[in-house]
Amino acid sequence: MISIDIEKKLKAYKGEQVLKIAAQFANGSITKIYGPSGAGKSTFLKIIAGLIDPEHGKISVDNLVWLDTATKVSLSPQKRKVGFVFQNYALFPNMTVQQHLEYVSDDAQWINQLLVIGKLETFTSHKPEYLSGGQQQRLAILRAIAIRPKLMLMDEPFSALDPKMKSELIPGLKSLWDELGTTVLIVSHNPQELEGLTASEMEINPM
């Protein structure tokens, strides 16, 4: 189980906004996170991954403390090793599709399996610059799942995909998550796109 209780000031230009969240996610669950633009959804995911530190708070995963500002514990992102799909993809410009996956896994069979799920088998030697928006987004998803994460954080992961692609991709991901027992948090503002996938949801609102 993942339990989170954090508080972080968002430095908006005029005045200040506080991101204050307390939530718990069951192992293996898939949760949809939504809320208005600028509410702090991306920030929330980055705090969980260890990329941003909140002012106050505690994060623990299966009784292992990832973060506790009171005792000044904060595991590095490397130790937390969550599968993170960045909103802007953050692909590596120097690497081809194949190299992205080889960077995180040396299991050739696993890589092939992922390429098939993401429908990128024929693009293995393309660099991100030469991929379409949807191809880039699928690569970002594959790279994140390639590390076989226990926890997967996805920031608008399907925004560049057409409905058909989405409906073919999601079942593939779902079965991998089931296999790996992954807990998944998905930020999305498209009300329909996660229908049937997520059981629980969480709203983030600016305060």
């Binding site: 990329l51 992102p77 599968g83 590390i147």
Partner: protein, 223 residues
């Protein structure tokens, strides 16, 4: 014409460039992360040797390396290392002298990379070191290349420092730049031109092949 100085020079420039790559890359990385007063000062110190006329820098280094005092004495007594009038000394001097050309371009290029690249790599469980080598460096390849070429060329042409602490000993510290200098001093313009042409030629070929190789490598399957 005696070709030993040319070989010696190439050896010196190659070794200095390699050493500077090894120590310069991590140092540039460290300097590129955040800005503290300590880093600014260290950076200023690295740039300092540039500000001094080479012969004067050579003089200071001679003082520092001299087996008669300080560091030089200690090295001499403890390890029997003699830095003055030896090839080792030339290497050390070249490293000090050319360091800003290696550090500067790489550091500024690193600062201009988006943070999200390293963040993505960290979440994949990769250490800072691996991220630096496999993600950051390849994405500033052009700057690393520029830095290496500037360093190499500058070490080839370095002269004042080398003359002062190397002492123009044939086969040991008489590098090409000194040989050319001697020829000019001696009004033997034919040899001076010949040496210069060889240096030119080697650098030229080297640069062109690096660029061509790089162009080839950079070619995507789509082009």
């Amino acid at each position: 014409m005696d070709l030993t100085p040319i070989w010696l020079t190439l050896k010196l420039a190659a070794i200095a460039t390699v050493i500077l790559l090894i120590i310069g890359l991590p140092l540039a990385y460290w300097l590129s992360k955040g800005r503290s007063i300590a880093k600014i000062i260290l950076e200023a110190i690295i740039t300092m040797p540039l500000v001094l006329p080479p012969s004067v820098l050579g003089f200071y280094l001679l003082m520092a390396f001299s087996p008669k005092h300080g560091i030089g004495e200690w090295l001499h007594n403890a390890f029997d290392i003699q830095l003055v009038f030896s090839f080792k000394g030339l290497i050390l001097a070249s490293v000090i002298y050319s360091m800003p050309f290696m550090i500067g371009p790489i550091k500024s290029a690193l600062q201009q990379l988006p943070l999200s690249l390293s963040h993505a790599s960290y979440t994949l469980g990769k250490s800072e070191r691996e991220t630096f080598i496999k993600i950051l460096l390849p994405n500033i390849r052009a700057s690393v290349l520029t830095a290496a070429i500037l360093t190499f060329a500058h070490t080839l042409g370095e002269f004042g420092v080398v003359l002062m602490i190397g002492g123009n000993i044939p086969g040991v510290t008489r590098v090409a730049s000194i040989a050319v200098y001697d020829s000019v001093e001696n009004m033997d313009y034919a040899s001076a031109n010949a040496y210069s042409l060889i240096l030119f030629g080697i650098t030229f070929i080297m640069m062109v092949s690096v660029f061509v190789f790089n162009k080839y490598k950079a070619k995507s399957p789509l082009e």
